[in-house]
Symmetry: C2
Subunit: 613 residues, 2 copies
């Protein structure tokens, strides 16, 4: 038995959309007003919950037990993946997050992301086939001319073709500016000959679409070195004629399908382009030779990459949530021992044991805190895309820029140990592949590496996002938390929680000042030394602020409905999850502050030779 899909209901999603965030604003945008209101999200999410269980969950086991194979240059995928791809694309679940699409099916980001949280939980391996196709199509939509759009988009969105993003090369991963792929001009100024090798291409090959459209980074000869000189190309596996019909194989070969810790159903391909000098691709955007040697490829790719970073963190969150739900289901059934508070009583289900309750509440608190952060950010995606007020859009963009590294790295960092705790709840069974959590651990580990390692995210946070608009964007982000603190710090029943939030805010200022001081002293190595811990602290502070906001609302609602109401335990649980998070997780913010201020330099001082021991 592979990983179960153990989401039981959509109550937390309903709380986020219908009670917590002011989503009427979004549902009133002309894009959505005729189709949905915030009150009928159940009509969207209810069927998805059912589909995730009945249609997607079985493909997860198929993927884990029938890993991708490459034989004689041909890949074989888990047999259920093709039919699921077609079904989801035909039903429009892939298209529906492209803001500029004119399709009536378009969902707000915040709602669409809830759909994908459940689909990702049901089969984390499958999602990227669709998400990357949407991302690749989105790039053509944004940067292609009408002709290219006509040639590629309809078939990419109806499930006939798929798409990928091709960045990484054997010698250039995190430093994508050092790629060796080259593009050479042809007689047609739109077309270039492509030559290079790409690795770790997720969905890089499959056996269920007629074509695969690679969005490909390469350098046109004569362009600037580094990321500045890189351009983006549309490189189909099979050539696409001007009339949209398929031509010959475009000199693209699959040279390897990685054998991975998890994500066995995901085809992580090594691809060779132009081995026979017959690979061609369309340039997207300006030709660097007419632009001072500067290509637009990296900036263009970042449109896709930022979305992919959100989706990566979100997939990690869905794994954490699903592991927590699975552990809960097991703990409700497994009888073992007696809790310390009743050592002479009958044996009980282990969900009554303090340490199991601790592990489950720890899971629940992290899930709800991270979800608050993710959906607050997706809310901003909708505002940025559709709000008529330019200032609102700009503010939303700032929040997205600041939040993206947090949303990518924090869930994908914490997932490993949180899922480890879920394994621990199962005892020895957690180590057996017949139970669901081992696979979740194997599947989740990639997310801290994908789409920019979490170290890169932390450098993005501190090196870029702290400084954006001369610090005004990040300053506003912190000020908003301080305003929330000042406005609510007297809230009855949450005195200690607000005390902790206030202390974390002060500590965070100290972190920023300490890093500023190291820079002032030209101690440039200190920031990268502490960057990952600072990203974690930033996320914990922000998640603490958001889940506490949820708790204030939930406490009020709990009082309103009273203990006999069916929703009372949901609200109580929300309050206690926030309490746990503020009292057990947020204190790490000042622990990090103390360590950053201390400024231990052992990492910078150690000679490389000392690692021989």
């Amino acid at each position: 038995m592979a990983a179960n899909f153990a989401y039981q209901n959509i109550r937390d999603f309903e709380f986020i959309i219908q009670e917590w965030l002011p989503t009427e604003k979004i549902f009133n945008y002309p894009q959505f007003a005729d189709y949905y209101s915030k009150d009928d999200i159940k009509s969207v999410l209810g069927p998805i919950l059912k589909m995730a269980k009945e249609v997607v969950e079985p493909t997860n086991e198929d993927g884990d037990l029938n890993p991708v194979k490459l034989e004689n240059g041909k890949v074989t995928l888990p047999p259920t993946f093709g039919p699921l791809f077609k079904q989801l694309q035909e039903e429009g679940w892939g298209t529906s997050n492209i803001d500029e699409s004119e399709d009536a099916m378009v969902l707000p980001h915040i709602l669409h992301s809830m759909v994908w949280e459940m689909l990702a939980a049901a089969n984390p391996t499958f999602g990227p086939y669709i998400i990357l196709t949407s991302g690749a199509a989105g790039l053509i939509q944004s940067f292609g001319d009408d002709h290219l759009k006509e040639m590629f988009l309809p078939k990419m969105m109806d499930g006939t073709w798929s798409g990928t993003m091709c960045l990484t090369e054997p010698t250039a991963g995190s430093d994508v500016g050092d790629i060796l792929s080259r593009a050479y001009p042809t007689d047609d100024p739109r077309l270039f000959k492509i030559k290079g090798s790409k690795i770790f291409i997720t969905g890089g090959d499959n056996d269920f679409t007629e074509n695969i459209i690679h969005l490909y980074l390469a350098r046109i000869e004569g362009s600037k070195p580094g990321t500045k000189g890189i351009s983006l190309f549309v490189v189909p596996k099979y050539w696409v004629n001007e009339d949209g019909s398929l031509g010959e194989l475009n000199d693209v070969e699959t040279t390897a399908a990685e054998h991975k810790l998890g994500q066995h159903g995901s085809c992580t391909a090594a691809l060779s382009f132009g081995e026979n000098n017959t690979c061609r691709g369309w340039l997207l955007g300006v030709d660097p030779r007419e632009n001072d040697g500067k290509g637009e490829g990296m900036a263009q790719m970042f449109q896709m990459m930022n979305g992919a970073r959100m989706e990566t963190g979100h997939a990690a969150l869905s794994c954490i949530a699903n592991a927590y739900y699975n552990a809960r289901d097991y703990a409700k059934e497994r009888i073992q021992g007696r809790p310390l508070t009743n050592p002479k009583g009958d044996r009980v289900t282990i969900i009554n044991h303090e340490d199991i309750k601790r592990a489950l509440l720890c899971g629940k608190a992290h899930v709800e805190a991270m979800r608050a952060m993710m959906y607050k950010t997706y809310f901003a995606f909708d505002v940025r895309a559709h709000d008529p007020n330019e200032e609102e859009r700009a503010k939303a963009n700032e929040l997205i820029e600041v939040s993206t590294p947090l949303c990518k790295a924090y869930p994908s960092d914490e997932a490993w140990w949180l899922i480890g705790e879920a394994i621990q709840c199962y005892g020895g069974y957690g180590y057996c592949e017949e139970y669901p959590v081992a696979q979740i651990a194997r599947d989740v580990k990639i997310y801290s590496i994908w789409e920019g390692t979490n170290y890169i995210q932390s450098m993005d946070l501190i090196g870029r996002k702290w400084l954006m608009k001369k610090g005004a964007a990040f300053g506003g982000f912190v000020q908003e938390m301080r305003d929330f603190f000042e406005a609510n710090k007297g809230a009855e029943g949450f005195e200690k929680e607000f005390e902790n939030l206030g202390r974390a805010l002060d500590a965070y200022t100290q972190i920023q000042m300490a890093i500023g001081g190291y820079f002032g002293n030209k101690q440039y190595g200190m920031m990268p030394t502490f960057a990952r811990r600072i990203l974690t602290a930033t996320s914990q502070l922000y998640c603490g602020r958001l889940i506490l906001d949820q708790a204030l609302l939930a406490a009020k609602k709990a009082q309103e409905v009273g203990p006999d109401h069916f929703d009372y335990e949901f609200y109580t649980g929300k309050v206690l999850a926030a309490r746990y998070y503020l009292r057990n997780v947020v204190p790490n913010v000042w622990a990090v502050a103390e360590i950053v201020k201390d400024g231990d330099t052992s990492v910078l001082d150690i000679p490389i030779g000392a690692f021989e021991y």
Copy 2:
């Protein structure tokens, strides 16, 4: 490629035995004096380092790629395991930790454990076949009569037979007192009919020994309920006649071989005993019917269990170390990007990047700190076994009792994220099974569950070890750390490190007082809620104390030998590892103290129903 054995030298072992601990005391015991001195450990460990690489490492890949299979009741093991088992047993590596053996080959525990650290790193899956055989033989040695010893021991120790420990049952894991296995008297008072099912029996079956000797817990009818009424039996797979010859199958059947996250070469068997009512076993020790219904089984098994707990933690440590060494080797070769301190320079190997150095130093610091704790404890094993002075033996026993839960749980808890950091050093390659670290993560996860989950260890620490001898044993353990602090707190160059140690000691007192207070208030749920974090804090305090002691010595030696000496970097690295540990890890002790004192009760307050969301 499965996990490499990446230990390069035995320098840290030499430091521990030849420079740090007063091991001349041990090597002067009559047991060892004629055979070894502390100066010739290289003659033992050098060949083991070579054997681990050349002989054992290849079996690791074999084990991972050829997992144990069960077909028609017969198991098939990785083909290289049998020959390795015979070789190691014939060479005496298994026997050599049985204190009472009269074999000349006996090594001190401290040295023998270094042998096993390397063998475990080279193939974590293989070790238990031998270690459990030694443990089972040790129980017969301790509690069997001469006849049983004669029948079983020679063949168990020369590689002809193997041994196991059979505790867990489908419905009784952590609460072993609830086992359902039964033993029924026969006409021969030494022999009982055995009936029951056991699961998760490591080495429970194999295809390379002629017999398997199960040390089996069961309840004789009429004995007391719970752990008090349990007895221990010697239950061979094939009956052993009084003359030592093999009889028929003893009604023992293998009903499953678990399919696990890792440890693929380890046969984790479900066994059925007495399905046809013809399974028999020898009782070890007193018959409960003649002892007020009380059996000795649990106490006897704990002799083996305590050793197994040490070995489990030590195996986790060997995995952490091997993952760190592998990541280091990769980081020395992989070229990627530029460090922030030289952004316009040439591309460099990633070991020059701050975040990679941080991850490696974090690994190194944990390895050396944990090793200090493990070998300090093994040192006490030798004193307890051989010291002529009874008081010394008693003191050593106290240290072992206090340290065992720390040695078991701390490395096996931290291993998961530390190996996660090693994966992160590899980037995407870390997620590929062709590189060594993914397998180490899969293999290591069991150790936090085996031999008493880490929650059980934490309850053992707080519920038993804190209170042992009315608190005097643990009080002495803490006082020794305080004495060390007082004696050395002025040490030049270590001011901040000692400040942190002192603060951690104070914080630890606060943890103990807070838990005492909760007990006084009858808040019995608080201790289990915080127990696991307290165990971690205890270990970090103790490891901090030990590695700081090592650092004082290393700093002195570094000064003596000077910067041009080949050992200078070893000593410098030791100092910086201690610095890193005291400044970046030990602060968690006061973070835990603050959380324990705060006393959040959300874990105890949350209604089970709230976990539905």
